[in-house]
Amino acid sequence: MNANPVVGTEEAESYEEQHVHEVYEQIASHFSSTRYKPWPIVSSFLSSLRPGSIGLDVGCGNGKYLAVNRDVFIVGSDRSSNLVKIASQSQNQPHAAVVADSLALPHQKDRFDFAISIAVVHHLSTRERRREAVGAVLECLRDGGRALVYVWALEQKGSRRGWDEGGEQDVMVPWVMKSSKKDVGEAGETEKTFQRFYHLYRKGELEEDVVEVGGEVVESGYEKDNWWAICRRPLKE
């Protein structure tokens, strides 16, 4: 399905409200029960941090990356208060989570040792906003701090979805939520389908966006249907 008739900022915001934020708020606990296995690149990035490092997990969802390294302190944030409630549970100690928008982060500039943005910026509906989101993460980093950004790839030859090079990049992706109907006394299960907006990144696009907002790509690559980049702000002379 093609998507995204967005033109202006206000339209982008209300479009994302409907096709991203509302959906996650509704599917939060079901989504969370399916999201428990950290991706290897993210785990190794987090595990390599110096003990005592302070960082951000922008778009932390259910907080599955908060538990990876307990020797650092992470402030996670997400638009969905239902997901933040799950992320704040005690298994994620010592870390924290707050409700915030990735384009209006409640953090100081130049303060953090690291940041991760995992499967988040691909939910923004214009390139300008996706770049702004990468810029917002970079801005929080201190000199020498590093951020890992991870987005869904257009090139997914091996996946069942059939996306690949040259295809439509702005797509709607269904989330099918099954729930039992025992409360209403009906037999079996009921299914509800939610449509989420995604921008699928083509090869090189994430790196272009990092550079466009004044960042430097330290390392980048492809991992199981996703593009990732570790980036930083250019070191001052």
């Binding site: 302190f73 638009r79 010592p94 924290a96 707050v98 100081q108």
Partner: protein, 127 residues
């Protein structure tokens, strides 16, 4: 929300970030609760150099805690002073703001903390 977390939060309004008045946010009408969290001295030693100590002093005094020393204690000082270590553990990790508001000293906007979760989503006129 932990007191430690407050040391890494500021106003979400873009124009406030360049103002020193926006950090730290000021707790207002806050209810505090205490969680029991396992002692982790190594974590405290390691994060202390990254904590903004002046901001922590402000927060602690606004929440009604006894005055903190003017300088962050060193690792050696903490190792020699179990009482201080315990107090810092309680203040930074165990003390939680469960309900209340966090006010920006620059624009005056108040962010709500509800059931321990702070909400930084801005109303339309502040975006």
């Amino acid at each position: 929300m932990k007191v430690l977390t407050l040391n890494f939060l500021t106003c979400a309004v873009k124009a406030c970030k360049s103002s020193t008045a926006s950090f730290p946010l000021h707790p207002k009408d806050c209810e505090l609760v205490s969680d029991t969290i396992e002692a982790n001295p190594a974590l405290i030693y390691n994060i202390l150099p990254r904590v903004d100590w002046a901001a922590l002093m402000t927060t602690a005094s606004e929440l009604g805690f006894p005055t903190l020393p003017a300088q962050a204690p060193t690792k050696e000082e903490l190792e020699a002073d179990e009482k201080m270590m315990g107090e810092l553990h309680t203040l930074l990790l165990e003390t939680q703001i469960s309900e209340g508001m966090l006010r920006c000293g620059n624009c005056g906007h108040e962010y709500r903390v509800k059931e321990g979760i702070a909400n930084f989503l801005l109303p339309n006129h502040l975006v």
